[in-house]
Structures are given as C-alpha cells and as structure tokens.
C-alpha cells in the first residue's frame, strides 16, 4: 500500500517545522522529509544537541532559539523522516523519496516545499581547489563537528553570514589570517534610502555592529577595495593572490579560504515542477511566484521560508505558519474567515521581519565579477568548463541556457546546475544583450538527487501493490 498523507513537507528547517506544527494543530496528517539527520535546517543544524553546550553558547542566542522550535516540532505529531531525499514530484501529488537505499512513492493532497536557500555560487580562478570552501560550510563544520580551520584562515566574502561566522570563530579560539571584504565600495551610500528602517530595527543592526566590533578588537586584517583574487596550488590550495583597485597585488600562503556572496532560494524543485518564477532584482535571484498563502502557480504546491525569497529564520517560521493556514483552508478544515483573521497578525509580523532586508541586499550586493568571470575561471565545476568555453559556445549560434547545456554539458553534472545556473544565465544574457530575467534558468529534470539503478528498481509500482 502506498502511504498517503494530507500534506508532505520537504525540509525540516524553520519553515518546514513551523508549517508542520501549524498543520498538525489543524488536525491534518503530515509527513516531513529532510536530508539531514536531525531537524533545524542549515541555520539550526544540530541545534538539539549543540544548543546546551559551550559551542551553542558561542554560536549565540539566535542559534539556540531553534531548540524550542525543534522541541515543538518533535512533539507535534507529524511523521518525521530524516535522511530522506526527494528526487521527483509528479502530478497527483506523488512525492518520490529515497531512504536508506530504497525508493518510495508517497501520495499527498498538498505539498510544502521548505527547501530553504543555498549559498550563491562565487566563481573565481581556483575555486575548485580542495581547501576552498564556503563560509556556510565552515559554519556547518563548527555546528555539527566542532571543527575549525587548523591554520589562520583567509576569508573573501561579503554579507551578514561571514561577519557572524568570524565572530563565532574568534570566540571558539580560531584565528583569521585576513578578511578580504568583497562588498562593492559605497555600501553606506547604497544604505541611505533605508535609514528609517535601520533606526526602527536598531536592535538587529546592533547585533551586526557587535560582531564587527568583535572582529576589529581581535585585530583582524580587513582588506578592502579588491579588484579580483585567485587561488592556486598543486592539487590543493597553497596560495592566494589578491589585487586591489590601486593595482597593488599581494600573494600570501593559504591552506583554507572561505568564500561567500549571499544566499539564494533553492529553486530546483519548483523549476522541475514547472512553477512560474520571477526575477528578484534586489536579491539578484529567481524565486517562485506565490499567492498570499505561499501557493505556487500549481494548485496544491506551496513554498515556504527562504525558498520564497531570502528573509531569514524568523521570517521563515512565520511564512511556515501562514502556509499552514492556507493549506488548512484549502483542505476544508478551516474557514476562509478564520484563516484570514489568524493570518492578519502573522502578516504584520512578517512585514516587520522583512523590512530590514532591502538594506542588507543593498549593502551586501555580490561583487560583479561573479556574474562575468574572467575567461580562465571554471564556471561549471562538475564538467570543468571555463567562462571562456561558455563564451566561445555562445558565439556559435546564440544559444539559450538549455541549448548551451546540450552544446557544452554545462549544468549536466551531478550538481545539475546548482553551482553554475546563475553564472550561465548571466553569460547568456550578456552575449545576447538581454536581461537575466528574460534569459531564464536551466530546465531542471529529475532525478533531482543521485539515484542508483538498485534504488530505482526498489520502487513499488502501483499495480504491484
């Protein structure tokens, strides 16, 4: 017998957990599947185990607050299955999972995609070398393995996450060789239109300034006005070279380099489903178009949390609660009036939580050269194609992103374009003198995660059961 639920939630981060809690309160049957071993998503990775420890203390209160949400989630009565991957969703809705080497199809009347965000791909020469990682990766290593770079670490990054991680790393006794601050100059000028919001949200701004003070007090070498940088080494990272706008070039030894240029919504599932997406010019990313309840252009498919647009953990929780109300109403367990009334207060909260976002987006705009890398830079990590390879292919027949995939194999490796999709879209747009919004993203095809033939063969076909 195929398992059947009122709702399947994909992802057990802030949004997925909050949606599940809300829907359970309405009496719906809920299955929550998640790739990770424990609930929390990326922001609250391993929060149940780590929150009460010394590491939890140095990670800070925003991290530890996830423990309470995880506890309510554990107690809410949703069927929670960690270590599970969704590799396809078919109309019906038939959610295809893999768990412990076996595939399974689960039926759901409605689906909530709470797959969150990923770090924006940041191509530069040498970014595929072992020893180059994202700042998010290093923070996950701190949360889940209490692990820090052995030698003083180099950080080439922009955004709130690197500042938070650097503060956490220093508290943990880690050392920073230098911070190449890649945020384009003129941050404060870009922030000016949002001064009012900054004053209203002084507490949040204060947190960020506090982290910056910690970094300054520790005497971290902050290098600004960067024109470009490259990593090199024989088989692994050995040297970092950065060039400042003045033309001054500096070479330093490095064993670990952490990079970050913000986060973007995970859109692979909504893209594969064929949901309508729109371009967000502030956050420079695609996001699925949603109605006021978080429903996509496909009836019964909802998106909650950072997958709907970057808003952070607190906003993700509220979005999860709003999706729960929308689904409750659609499932007929709640009247429209009741759903609207309860949603009104949540929407007010959400508005407050999101109002600082335009300022952060403006201050921490990603450096321009990630969208127009030098010819020698690998842009498709899986197929090892450089920006030059892509530009040459683009000269031949003016292909779009999908044709380019067929020409060059860009985006056809195991990551399925998760690390090159945006770079390719920008290169295509530049060659065709069109906007990225017009050019669009790769067509994403299943399986969304690697699947062995054995796993595929284990799938019970409806007629067999």
């Amino acid at each position: 017998m195929m398992r059947q639920f009122d709702v399947v939630v994909v992802g057990a981060g802030p949004a997925g957990m909050s949606a599940a809690i809300g829907m359970r309160e309405l009496g719906l049957t809920v299955l929550v599947v998640d790739e990770q071993p424990t609930p929390g998503g990326q922001i609250w990775r391993a929060v149940e185990a780590v929150a009460p420890t010394k590491i939890g203390e140095l990670l800070g209160d925003d991290f530890r607050s996830g423990k309470e949400v995880a506890a309510r989630f554990r107690a809410c009565g949703a069927c929670y299955e960690p270590h599970s991957q969704v590799w396809q969703i078919e109309p019906g809705w038939r959610v295809l999972l893999k768990q412990a080497g076996r595939a399974e199809a689960v039926f759901a009347a409605q689906v909530v995609l709470a797959t969150g965000a990923q770090e924006r791909p940041v191509p530069f020469p040498g970014w595929t070398l072992p020893g180059v990682l994202t700042v998010g990766a290093a923070q996950i290593l701190l949360k889940t393995s209490h692990q820090i770079p052995s030698d003083p670490v180099w950080i080439a990054a922009s955004g709130p996450l690197p500042i938070l991680y650097m503060a956490q790393l220093l508290r943990a006794g880690g050392r920073i060789a230098g911070w190449i601050d890649t945020s384009p100059p003129g941050a404060w000028r870009r922030a000016l239109p949002w001064t009012g919001v900054a004053i209203a949200d002084a507490a949040e701004i204060g947190k960020g300034l506090g982290w910056l003070r910690e970094i300054k007090r520790a005497g971290v070498n902050r290098i600004r006005d960067i024109s470009h940088f490259r990593a090199s080494g024989d088989g692994y990272l050995q040297e970092l070279e950065y060039v400042q706008r003045s033309g001054k070039s500096t070479r330093v030894a490095a064993s670990v380099l952490l990079v970050h240029e913000g986060v973007v919504p995970s859109i692979h599932m909504t893209q594969a489903l064929g949901c309508t997406h729109g371009w967000n010019p502030q956050q420079l990313c695609f996001a699925p178009r949603l109605d006021e309840w978080g429903q996509t252009s496909l009836s019964g498919i909802y998106v909650s949390g950072d997958g709907a647009g970057i808003g952070g953990a607190k906003a993700a929780c509220i979005r999860g609660e709003i999706v729960a109300l929308g689904i409750g109403h659609r499932a007929g367990v709640m009247t429209a009036e009741a759903a609207l009334a309860r949603a009104a207060a949540l929407r007010k909260k959400l508005h407050r939580l999101l109002r600082l976002r335009p300022l952060l987006d403006a201050v921490y705009r990603p450096r321009n050269d990630i969208f127009s890398p030098a010819d020698e830079t690998i842009v498709c990590r899986c197929e090892e194609l450089t920006a030059g390879d892509i530009r040459r292919a683009l000269e031949i027949a003016a292909p779009g992103a999908n044709q380019l995939k067929a020409f060059t194999r860009a985006g056809m490796g195991p990551c399925q374009g998760r690390q090159c999709g945006y770079t390719i879209a920008h290169l295509v747009a530049a060659a065709q003198k069109k906007s990225v919004a017009t050019v669009g993203f790769y067509r994403i095809r299943p399986p969304l995660k690697p699947l062995t033939l054995g796993e595929l063969a284990s799938l019970a076909i409806e007629s067999d059961t």
Partner: protein, 102 residues
C-alpha cells in the same frame, strides 16, 4: 603532498566511532558527517573529477555542490556530507567516473 585543513576544537572522550577511509582507520564523533571527517585527514580530497581527474574536497557541506561524492559502504557517488558516520563504515575516495556496478 598534504596539508591539515581542519581540526576539532576538543577531543571528546566518549561516543567515538572508527570508520575507514581507503582502509585507514579514522576517529569520528557520533552524529557528524563523513565529509567533516574527510576534511580532517591529511588528504582532504573526496574524489577526482570524471573529466580532468582534478582533486575535489567537500565545498558546501549542505548537499548542493556534489564535490564530496565518495564511495560509502560500496555505494558510489554518495554525498558524504549527508551521511552520518557509523562504526566500521568503509569510505573510499572516488576516482574519476563512478562504475555502474556500485
């Protein structure tokens, strides 16, 4: 030709497991990922690419880069950042193209 990239903040006394990386025993704490353990080894690389045989090591630690692919208990192209360590687990670095048999 190796460098130690990451290290643990402390050596926990209890709840350790031993796994094997290309046959060499490695200590790990219960609950951590195979990719995290790889990053503590003298050779952090988890695989070489099918195209140019370039070494790659875990990069994103959250399941989106697929650089941490390795052969885990006989299953090739396993995302090692999504696998929790188990006592006696056999991890092999994956060289080039995965074989269809495993």
């Amino acid at each position: 030709m190796s460098v130690l990239m990451f290290e643990k903040l402390h050596v926990p006394s209890s709840s350790m497991v031993t796994l094997f990386i290309d046959g060499i025993p490695a200590q790990a704490e219960c609950g951590e990922s195979v990719a995290a353990v790889l990053l503590r080894q003298n050779v952090a690389a988890s695989r070489t690419t099918p195209v140019k045989k370039s070494p790659r090591a875990p990069y994103c630690m959250m399941g989106v880069c697929f650089e941490c692919l390795a052969v885990v208990d006989g299953v090739a192209s396993t995302q090692s950042c999504l696998v929790t360590v188990q006592e006696g687990m056999q991890v092999e670095r994956q060289h080039g193209r995965r074989s269809i048999a495993s």
